[in-house]
Amino acid sequence: MKRKTALTALTALTAGLVTLTTACSSSNGFSSGTSPSATQRAKASKTPLTLMFGSSGTAETNAVQAAAKAFTKQSGIGVQVIPASNLTQQVAQGFAGGQPPDLFYLDPLTFQSYAKDGVLDAYPASLPNASGFSPALQQAFTYQSTFTCDPKDASTLALYINTADWAAAGLGAPPANWSQLQADAKKLTTGGRVGLVIDQTHSGMDEFFYQNGGTVLDGDQVQLDSPQDVQALTFLKSMLTQGIMKLPSQLNAGFSGQAFGENKAAMDIIGNWENGELQTDYPNVKFKVYPLPTGPSGTRATLSFTNCWGVPKQSKNLAGAIDFVKFLTGAQQEMTFAKAFGVIPSLETAQTQYTQTFPQYATFVQELSYAHPDIAIAGATQALGAFDSALAQLASGNPATILKTAQTNLQAVVNQDK
């Protein structure tokens, strides 16, 4: 009898507390149905902003902090800059607690989830530079045909060639197509070094599907099991089995750029983030960057990567946050970032300046015209992770099976959204 009363008391107490938590969180809670009115966007208050970002290193942290200071000086709006150690998790915690940062780096995959949940402010249309970004970048942040988030930078995959190895093998022009790539990789595979290294993920391999005339996602239809894609992956597997291409794990490297920097591979297909890596960790490696070779049908393609400046609808100072984005995506500020930590501007006018300042990296900008954004589907993190795991085992796997499985898993994710 006594135990029962104790239990009842405890249950009552718990129920009370749960109600209390509910009450607390719903008071600062948020209803996804409301869309901010134009007036709300227009009047920037002096409420300080928070900016959360995942930093690549001190250079980026300092540059972002300097930009925030410059914005405060210009607008009188204070900015608290928070470098996150795990950005996705910390932003998610912000949303769950009802107080997301006013501005944050947002990757295309997480963007899809937040856009689907309707928590992002679709501010780009209210800014004058809305059509100034590269189309592939705009596409990455378009949800249900609304351009929702301004891309902050641009990256494309290109072919890195170690010039010393290249000269030693007596090779001339860079490979223009797959068969030349294969032939060159064969000649460069010598002295314990492999000809080519590529990353063992979909973000390092999907470009081959496009180059072969295939695709990855077409609207609501995942297209990974097409004959073109199977053929492309079979081509990659044949390079692996011939031993003229290796994956980073086979070279005891965390990613392909590390293997290239350590000169375990003479060629590498990787994005421009490798430039900074080579500069700081492997300053003695001499390299050149070329556009990716075309597939058998002559199709040019690469993948583009970018993050955007996410702004939540529920920001306490929405207009201020949007003003800040306007400042950050100005041609001048984008060039400042480019010089500080090597990113490529997302704005086309700034890209022209970039190619003049860094002619050796013009390739990355040229490639934007035929780039396809890296695949992003809401809730596909695990399905893509499983795909990556399978691709890492490509040397012993069956290309058709790998693609069929990924097709099924990803299509299931797409379908569950409908």
């Binding site: 718990t14 719903s26 948020f30 209803s31 996804s32 949303f95 794990s249 890492a392």
Partner: protein, 346 residues
């Protein structure tokens, strides 16, 4: 008679009230930090919460057992990955718990010897891995088990070629079988399965990558459990051992018939703690492998994290956590039953 009884019960009631008052702070802390979060998680696991705002806001709906069904009965990636993670963790538990317990007991017996010189030093040395940050230890092991790491250097000294540890998804039972000439699954095992995994995959054994993580777990936790064994060993009366020696028992017989029975309660504690913590393995996976290679180091705890924070499927993530909870509860109860059975027969 009657007034006296009434007085006593009134006093008892006052005492009870005082008792409740005294323990109220603890109860409040427990409810706020333990009971309420668990109830909230339980609600999330049957809801369609998207991680935006409070899980109790009006936009969040009860979806019944949909999240559990997606994991347990609908064939697809969620079910397959849950199966995979349970298989991986099962092998992890089967290897780590007995080995770490045996090692801890062995170490405790060695350092408890009175004749051992520098006992304090060894005690500290063995306990050191346990008090070192798991982040530091995990990163250290990434180097130790690298393709050109210390372990492979040792292996190559005896003329063998070490594996590419953290990138090798081959299960060791599969490797043993292929050593015996069995390279393909018998159709009975390949065509039937459980939780989206064919039986052949359930029988793969821990992958080579998982073995490296298992080695790490055993190395780091043995020191802790050694520390639990030590006082229990010291508490064994010396005359018991003396009597056994007088009766002509050798060292093994003394250990088997005197030390081990005396340590039984401690052994059960160590086994239970080991069982619970190994089913919850997360940080090593998060730091070292993120479930790779080929999903062979995926564990339910890590899967719950990825499902929630990566996929933003918070309901399904919470459901995984509750499935894990159920497994741990059932196994702990089973262990208790086995223990009490033994006590009855003993």
């Amino acid at each position: 008679m009657i007034p006296a009884r009434r007085g006593r019960s009134a006093a008892r009631r006052r005492e009870a009230a005082a008792g409740w008052l005294m323990s109220a702070p603890v109860i409040v802390v427990l409810v706020v930090f333990l009971v309420a979060p668990i109830l909230m998680a339980a609600w999330v696991s049957i809801s369609d919460w998207t991680g935006i705002g409070s899980p109790f806001s009006s936009g969040v709906h009860n979806v019944g057992l949909a999240n559990y069904k997606a994991l347990l009965s609908t064939s697809g990636l969620p079910q397959q990955q849950l199966g995979e993670s349970l298989r991986n963790n099962l092998y992890y538990v089967i290897l780590v718990v007995p080995l770490q317990t045996a090692l801890a007991l062995g170490l405790a017996l060695i350092v408890s010897r009175k004749r051992l010189a520098g006992r304090g030093f060894f005690r500290t040395a063995y306990y050191f891995p346990s008090i070192t940050s798991s982040v530091a230890v995990s990163i250290l092991f990434l180097y130790i088990f690298g393709t050109t790491g210390v372990v492979n250097a040792l292996i190559s000294n005896v003329g063998l070629h070490g594996p590419n540890w953290f990138n090798d998804p081959d299960g060791i039972l599969h490797l043993l079988l292929s050593g015996l000439g069995v390279t393909h699954a018998p159709s009975a095992l390949a065509d039937h399965g459980f939780l989206g995994q064919p039986w052949w995959e359930w029988l793969a054994g821990p992958s080579v990558a998982m073995i490296a993580i298992i080695a790490l777990a055993i190395w780091t936790t043995s020191g802790t459990f050694m520390l639990i064994f030590l006082p229990a060993i010291y508490a064994i009366p010396a005359d018991l051992e003396e009597a056994a020696t007088m009766d002509g028992a050798n060292a093994w017989q003394r250990f088997r018939s005197v030390t081990l029975p005396m340590l039984r309660p401690t052994l059960f504690l160590v086994l239970t703690l080991g069982l619970i913590s190994t089913w919850q393995v997360f940080d090593q996976i998060y730091l070292m492998s993120q479930g790779n290679p080929a999903g062979t180091t995926l564990t339910p705890a890590y899967l719950a994290y990825v499902t929630s924070f990566g996929n933003q499927q918070w309901g399904q993530g919470a459901a995984i956590a509750f499935i894990l909870f159920a497994i741990i509860v059932v196994l702990t109860i089973a262990q208790r039953l086995i223990i009490s059975d033994r006590r009855d027969t003993a």
